[in-house]
């Protein structure tokens, strides 16, 4: 941690990551020819069909103590070439863990030799840093780098990648700083107003009522007739059916649970089918028309199912086919009672959102659960909260770092009769169920998708994003960068700080320019 690098007479303290950042900043201030590049200018070069050239340079640069000294001779003296060297250098730094000091030394040499060159130093994206810091920490001194980047910082995809362009990556204005530039806060104001008028986060949790179709003299009596049937005929029948289901279920579940204590295997398989049956009663109670696509899940160790989450009925719909063990929030009321009695026997795991300690306990339980061969397959809703089936919020990475095969499940509800989104802030689960039970039917599609594995070199976060892509594509959902837990908390000040940093750097740089 205590290392420092010297560049241009300025001492920079801090971790490697920080020093590269400040190196960048120092450069910005002192050398006007340096152009701050977009992240990963390397891929930009590749797009420019210089792949071959870059590849060969790149290959030769690996494994050498000071790659750039040799590179210079090989390259034609053009600006792009030098730019690409630096691009590669930054790239190698990220991927091949070259020490920062080497980079500085080489760059200084290069600068002295070629004053007018345009340098592009790639600003590595954060996921790359993770890769680097992980491996360096493993390679030489474990623990030194980890402290420099807090876990939480790397816990999520980069929000800026999703926000409408113009928020951070504006084409940077150049030239002298005038009063009107400083006073012009219009971009920031418009961003704020834009967020007030519409934002992607609240959209995720907006219930969209089905289109009313009864505004018509001829249809209105028909609709009234429908209401009578739904509330006075269908609903009582469904309640009776559900009660019947409960009676059958409980009268067989309780004896099985207590009498077959000795025969674990038999007991479990009976309990499994009983729960599946009970869920079928539930689905029938809202005339669930569910189409299942793809092969049915199998029971085997080291696999975990992840699905998008719209309502608690997701669980019932999936449970009807296969008895999953699910990770759920601890609910109050009758749902909580069911959780702690019946679902417990399936190996379901509970947590309390507010208990920080629960996180570790749950993580441990998860790891234990997936190892067992005869355990019910694990089902996780990585969004951590109900979303209205038009969007997907960020996936929590927990399910993706178990080292298991991840089987994505996509669920899409058809809103022709009722909106299946459970807006837990507005209605209780009982009300939600009643709403479903008084509608004509709940129509939905379930896709069991191709199992995915962590690719070499992929971080759990990238993996989670990839699986989210797959699910969103299949179910036709839009992706948003937000953490669903923002429903309960405020965003971290980090994002605001980044905006402030951009602003400050820009002002300071333009002040120097004449």
């Amino acid at each position: 941690m205590k290392e420092h690098i010297v560049f241009g007479g300025e001492k920079i303290h801090g971790s490697k990551m920080a020093s590269l950042r400040s190196l960048h900043a120092v450069w910005n201030a002192r050398h006007s020819p340096l152009i701050c590049a977009q992240p990963l200018s390397f891929s930009f070069l590749l797009r420019k069909k210089k792949k071959k050239e870059v590849d060969s340079i790149h290959r030769s640069s690996i494994g050498q103590a000071n790659p750039i000294s040799n590179l210079r001779e090989k390259l034609p003296k053009t600006q792009t070439a030098i730019g690409s060297v630096l691009g590669i250098l930054g790239y190698s730094l990220i991927h091949y863990y070259l020490p920062v000091d080497d980079l500085v030394l080489s760059l200084r040499r290069l600068l002295m030799a070629d004053q007018k060159c345009i340098l592009t130093l790639p600003v590595p994206s954060r996921s790359h840093w993770k890769k680097k810091s992980d491996s360096t920490a493993l390679m030489n001194n474990p623990g030194t780098l980890k402290s420099s980047s807090s876990e939480l910082d790397l816990d999520r995809p980069n929000i800026e990648d999703y926000l409408p362009s113009g928020s951070t990556i504006q084409q940077e204005p150049h030239g002298k700083l005038f009063l009107h530039d400083l006073l012009n806060i219009s971009p920031t104001l418009s961003e704020a107003a834009g967020a007030i008028v519409d934002d992607s986060f609240t959209r995720c949790f907006k219930s969209n009522p089905p289109e009313p179709w009864n505004w018509n003299v001829y249809l209105f009596p028909l609709w009234c007739f429908g209401v009578v049937i739904r509330y006075l005929i269908l609903f009582p029948i469904r309640v009776i059916g559900l009660t019947l289901g409960w009676i059958i279920f409980l009268s067989s579940f309780i004896p099985v649970h207590f009498l077959l204590k000795g025969h674990d295997k038999l007991r479990r398989s009976i309990e499994r089918s009983l729960v599946e049956m009970m869920c079928s009663f539930f689905v029938a109670s809202w005339t669930g028309v569910v189409k299942y696509h793809g092969p049915r899940p199998s029971r085997r160790p080291k696999q975990v199912f992840v699905a998008n989450h719209t309502s608690m009925i997701d669980f019932i719909v999936l449970e009807q086919m296969t008895a999953f063990a699910v990770i759920m929030q601890k609910h109050p009321g009758w749902v909580g009672l069911l959780q702690s009695t019946i679902l417990e026997s399936l190996g379901c795991i509970w947590f309390n959102r507010t208990e920080a300690k629960d996180r570790e306990i749950v993580a441990k339980k998860l790891r234990d659960h997936v190892q067992g061969a005869d355990n019910n397959p694990l089902l996780i809703f990585p969004e951590g909260t109900c979303v209205n089936n038009h969007y997907t919020v960020m996936f929590k990475k927990g399910a993706f770092e178990l080292g298991c095969t991840v089987c994505p499940v996509a669920i899409k509800y058809n809103k022709i009769f009722v909106d299946a989104f459970w807006n837990s802030r507005k209605q209780s689960f009982t009300m939600h169920l009643l709403q479903l039970m008084t509608s004509w039917a709940v129509v939905c599609d379930v896709w069991y998708l191709e199992p995915q594995n962590l690719k070499p070199g992929e971080t759990p976060i990238e993996f989670a994003e990839r699986v989210r892509d797959i699910i969103s594509l299949r179910a036709g959902l839009k992706k948003v960068p937000w953490d669903g837990y923002l429903k309960y908390s405020r965003p971290s000040p980090k994002h605001r700080e980044r905006k402030q940093q951009n602003f400050a750097e820009l002002v300071l740089r333009r002040l120097e320019e004449k």
Binding site: L182, I185, L189, P212, L486, A504
Partner: protein, 175 residues
């Protein structure tokens, strides 16, 4: 069905339209009203600071605290009037007036050196020191022909900001 849009009559919409100098179309007002009701969670008739901050994109904005003072507790008419400066139909003067109001936190019609410094502080946070901010500001003020002690009025703002292009158009989603 009791949905939000049906509660606004044609008269209401026209009244709001008049209040915001016809800068929004009727459809835009209906859509803003839906948004207003969505943010105003328990239908109190205004949006509280906490409800504004529940929009993460807004909470992340460096100027959010400052803007909150302006929009906190506004009823729908004033809410629309506040947003009208962001309409594409609003002219530069209307936009600059809003910017001026953001700077003029004590509403005395004058913006002092300190007022601007405070906005700068919101914008740059801990990434610029107090000295740096003062230095930057006094330099640009001097170059523009003002001193540290001069108070800028709205006319000054119009003169200064008139020469830069304001990107202050926000589109209201109409579906």
């Amino acid at each position: 069905m009791g949905s939000a849009s049906s509660m606004l009559t044609q008269y209401d919409i026209e009244e709001v339209q008049e209040h915001c100098n016809n800068l929004f179309s009727q459809q835009e007002i209906v859509s803003l009203y839906q948004r207003f009701c969505q943010l105003d969670r328990n239908a109190k008739g205004f949006i509280s600071a906490d409800e504004f901050l529940s929009v993460p994109e807004f909470a992340m904005n460096p100027l959010s605290q400052r803007l909150l003072k302006m929009v906190d507790g506004l009823n729908f008419k004033d809410f629309v009037a506040f947003l009208s400066a962001f309409s594409a139909k609003a002219n530069a003067q209307q936009k600059i007036e809003l910017i001026f109001k953001v700077y003029d936190s004590d509403r005395n019609g004058k913006v002092s050196f300190k007022d601007i410094l405070e906005v700068l502080k919101d914008l740059s946070g801990s990434f610029m020191s107090e000295d740096q901010r003062e230095e930057v500001l006094s330099q640009v003020l001097r170059e523009a022909g003002y001193t540290k002690d001069s108070h800028l009025t709205l006319d000054d703002f119009i003169k200064v900001l008139g020469q830069s292009d304001l990107k202050m158009d926000v589109e209201i989603p109409v579906d």
